[in-house]
């Protein structure tokens, strides 16, 4: 089941929030290949937002080849090339790390401080 939570206080546009959440659910396999997405109008109704906003989100996901729209049938999660999938996931990880780096700079942390935290979290996860 697709999950979407929209925030009005976020400075990210609504359509971008939708794209990010669907994208990450596809990349992490929570939405599997061939899964049908609600229609643009249905999604707008359920999220109580404008049709133009959901349309724009789907167009972006189509452009990224994450979903496919078949006229008269609806939109589906596209089949993903494994190599491409890995690349997209890597890009996502890079984005998240960049954010962490930006925040750490605000606290005047050094690269070593950051690596230390990363190592700690990585090891901890392995033990679980």
């Amino acid at each position: 089941m697709m999950k979407i939570i929209l925030s009005n206080s976020s400075d990210k546009p609504i359509y971008e929030q939708i794209v990010e959440q669907i994208r990450s659910q596809i990349l992490y396999g929570e939405l599997s290949e061939g899964t049908q997405l609600p229609s643009i109008r249905k999604l707008a109704q359920e999220l109580r937002i404008s049709v133009i906003t959901t349309k724009r989100a789907y167009e972006e996901l189509e452009r990224e080849k994450l979903i496919e729209t078949v006229a008269g049938k609806g939109s589906f999660v596209a089949s993903q090339n494994k190599e491409l999938m890995r690349e997209k996931k890597l890009a996502e990880i890079e984005n998240k790390l960049s954010e962490a780096i930006k925040d750490s700079k605000l606290l005047n942390m050094t690269l070593d401080d950051l690596i230390e935290i990363l190592r700690f979290l990585y090891e901890e996860d392995k033990h679980e």
Binding site: D11, P13, I14, Y15, R41, K42, A44, Q45, R48, I49, S50, V51, I52, T53, R56
Partner: protein, 291 residues
Amino acid sequence: MNNILEVQNINKSYKDFSLKNVSFELKEGYIMGFIGPNGAGKTTVIKLIMNLIKKDSGSIKVFGKDHIKNEKEIKDRIGFVYDDNCYYEEFKLYEIKRIIAPFYSKWNDDLFNKYIRQFELPLDKKLKKLSKGMKMKFSIAMALSHDPDLIIMDEPTAGLDPVFRAELLELLLELMQNENKSIFFSSHITSDLDKIADYITFIYDGEILFSRTKDEISESYGIVKGANELLNEEIKKSFIHCTQSPYGFEALTMDIPKIRQEFGDSVIIERPSLQDIMVHMHMARRQAGNE
């Protein structure tokens, strides 16, 4: 995509008010919110579309057809919700229905009864006995019962409590599942209905200040907040309007990149609500008028 409503260069002058070259268009399958302060000309524009008053110049097309030459055919496909009640107050609700229904080729009694039940309207009461909110509900039921392709509502949420506003929202969202339906509504308070609007047209003092998708609007405007000492004459040029308190300033801008470049993280930039935009633009205009 087809334009369901096309208003071009409309002019209309009264003694102390005029509409100046009003233009906008609504595409089939979408919702447009028509916003502006009281007295900006919203009702006048709606009355012109409905051919209840005569324009001085310009053209209006509904469903691609001239709104006067094809008035009968067009109105058969429009559901119109008035701001003031237009029905004879001494009649009972079912009597009003009996009078109005025959005018519409697609009038649907089942649909009408469904809305009456849903809105809990007393059919055997006189209209004048109803509260303001109930009258609005009745007006909405009447407007929707002939399965219109275009719904025009003048201040539909005026006098409605939040619970019914939410109900109305659900109802309209349900209607919009059909991609051949379009909605045009006016409002002087930015309300819950704006959430579902695809386009926003902003009228101020008889002029259209903008008519764009709501997404474009919320992405191109920003509310900037920061400390007073950051302000100077140069930077004020990138503000549409700026208010100051002893503790800081708040301004509306259309140049977010410039503000970011100038101030970096020393200011907060928020996405404005339609209300923020409406209020700041009003103040900016008033200031300009005083200078």
